[in-house]
């Protein structure tokens, strides 16, 4: 595994989906992979993916009419992810008195440098880098998805890239 470079491609708005099932088939693999990168856990990412799609299905008439249903899908998924994090943090505090970083990435695959480096990132940095680098969202849309300002997204993504570079030994290319 080498260093880290930034290759951001703005995500293009897809054509409006004809049906919820068509939308699901078009998006679910992308969302699942993104959630896996954010959570580091396959099972959790599947549950979050289902939660998000279910939420959209229940209001599909309105979602389908949106300019970017996929953006709304990712926003919903990230909301659920944050809710789970808060619950997990509280549970951890109750048990051990302090939040421990119990992330599947950290132990999932010791051979994979990127997985371990991702696992060491704070969740928000990880989400920011996945949205901007992998999914190609601009910082404005990524900010709406994460519920933070676009400048915060840029900061989080920059911090994530710096941390990954430090971990993976790449050049400074900001």
């Amino acid at each position: 595994m080498g260093g880290v470079s930034s290759t951001v491609t703005e995500r293009e708005a897809p054509a409006p989906p004809a049906s919820f099932e068509e939308f699901f088939q078009a998006e679910h693999a992308h969302l699942l992979r993104a959630l896996y990168l954010v959570t580091g856990n396959v099972q959790e990412s599947e549950e979050l993916m289902q939660d998000a799609f279910l939420a959209l299905w229940e209001r599909w008439d309105r979602v389908a009419a949106m300019d970017d249903p996929a953006g709304y899908l990712y926003r919903t998924a990230m909301n659920r992810f944050r809710s789970r994090l808060r619950r997990a943090a509280r549970a951890a505090r109750k048990v051990v008195g302090a939040t421990e970083g119990g992330d599947a990435f950290a132990t999932a695959d010791e051979r994979d440098a990127l997985a371990r480096a991702l696992g060491r990132l704070p969740e928000r940095q990880r989400a920011a880098i996945v949205l901007t680098e992998l999914l190609g969202y601009g910082s404005g849309e990524a900010g709406r998805i994460l519920g933070v300002k676009d400048v915060t997204v840029r900061s989080l993504a920059s911090q994530a890239r710096s941390a990954l570079r430090a971990d993976l030994g790449g050049p400074d290319d900001d």
Binding site: L37, V42, R82, R90, L134
Partner: protein, 413 residues
């Protein structure tokens, strides 16, 4: 140098989608729908047991009108005789903009009392025809009749009417609580209490606390009802309902305020703002779950807050509305000046607490509600805070603004 995007894509491929992913989603949706129906039934049951008149409307909202036609009468004509027998000229009635009209004629020689199941009733004198209007959802409605005195024995006679709504007047307002848990309150008023004039929807927008930026406030029930029902909707889900009544002087007062778990709707004499960030809805229920589960230090009128390592030991405090309360603040940071102050909630403050925005983020225009005296640790001080209107507030250490949380002032009738 490798490309980060390619690396991420390769790593992400470890999460391979299942071939039956959509079928699994469909199964889960069916399970959720079933659970939701059971949850709605549970809410209705709780309200029925509590004696709320609203209970039946919760149940009834589940029954949509299925019959149309313009030959159906606009007023259901029923007769009661002196023996308490009731009969209807037509078993179907058309809903009107103000509700469902029932006319009861007492053809007997003794007074009778009629009851509209779950909603109420009235007395009718011999020879009298009494027309009344009811806020019943389309569907079936039971009406019974009983001769006075009511304790004379004998079961009342009853009939079932079918309400149809071909014009679509009725807008459902039944709570659709995802958790199956709801709450309701019915404020008591002094004689001569006055409300607020104007459009009932606007009155609710202005005076119901706990509204958030992504909640829609809409007229529900029948559009010209004398007792307007206003529903609060998030997305497509009804999460709250406020029923108003006329104070006799042109103002509106709430007769009932209901909400789903996780909301905190209350009534405020002072106009309230809508809270929340211009982004995804934060989960206040999550943040305050521990506080609600525990009646101890963080909830009630005698709060105990500990400050240590430039932080507070709780992100959420809950106090009852309409009562002063105390905060015993224990500053354990030796040699460090700290305090607890309270501010009106602002979207950016909420974002700071709930979404983990950077502590350096500045939140302007925060209105101070209570300023606690600064104490140098280790020390303890008791703040005596005057009563606050129901709603959300923000508490923080003014010396270290990164330490803060939400203060919820509950609605207490």
């Amino acid at each position: 140098m490798t490309d980060l995007r390619s690396d991420l894509e390769r790593l992400g491929e470890r999460a391979a989608p299942r071939t039956d992913a959509f079928e699994r989603l469909e199964r889960r949706r069916r399970r959720k729908e079933r659970n939701r129906r059971m949850g709605a039934a549970a809410v209705a049951l709780v309200l029925v047991l509590g004696g709320s008149l609203a209970a039946y409307t919760v149940v009834r909202d589940e029954t949509p009108a299925t019959v149309g036609g313009d030959t159906i009468p606009e007023v259901a004509e029923l007769t009661c005789d002196g023996e308490g027998m009731v009969s209807a000229a037509s078993s179907t009635v058309t809903a009107q903009p103000e509700g469902v009209h029932l006319a009861i004629t007492n053809v007997g020689s003794t007074p009778v009392v009629f009851s509209v199941v779950g909603l109420g009733g009235d007395g009718v004198e011999p020879g009298e025809r009494k027309e009344t209007v009811w806020q019943s959802a389309p569907g079936e409605l039971g009406v019974s009749c009983e001769a006075e005195p009511l304790d004379a024995g004998g079961a009342p006679s009853s009939t079932v009417l079918t309400i149809v709504d071909p014009n679509g007047y009725f807008v459902p307002s039944a709570l659709e609580c995802a958790s199956g848990e709801g709450y309701g309150s019915a404020p008591a008023y002094e004689e001569g209490a006055t409300g607020f004039a104007g459009d009932p929807v606007q009155v609710v927008r202005d005076h119901v606390s706990g509204l958030e930026y992504d909640m829609q406030v809409e007229r529900a029930g029948y559009p010209e009802s004398a007792e307007p029902a206003i529903r609060i909707v998030r997305g497509d889900t009804v999460i709250g309902r406020v029923t108003l009544f006329d104070d006799g002087q042109g103002g509106w007062l709430p007769s009932a305020i209901e909400g789903c778990g996780g909301t905190l709707f209350g009534w405020s004499e002072e106009p309230t703002g809508v809270s929340g960030p211009p982004g995804p809805a934060p989960d206040l229920q999550d943040l305050c779950a521990g506080t609600y589960a525990d009646e101890g230090r963080y909830r009630g009128t005698d709060l105990v807050v500990t400050g240590e390592n430039i932080a507070f030991d709780t992100p959420c405090l809950v106090v009852p509305g309409g009562e002063p309360f105390t905060i015993s603040f224990r500053n354990l940071d030796a040699g460090v000046p700290r305090n607890v102050s309270i501010y009106a909630m602002e979207p950016c403050l909420r974002e700071r607490i709930l979404l983990g925005a950077p502590a350096s983020a500045t939140c302007s225009a925060a209105k101070s509600v209570y300023e606690g005296e600064i104490v140098v640790g280790a020390a303890e001080i008791v703040y005596r805070v005057p009563r606050l209107e129901p709603g959300e507030y923000y508490f923080q250490d003014d010396v270290h603004p990164s330490a803060g949380g939400v203060l919820v002032v509950e609605f207490t009738p």
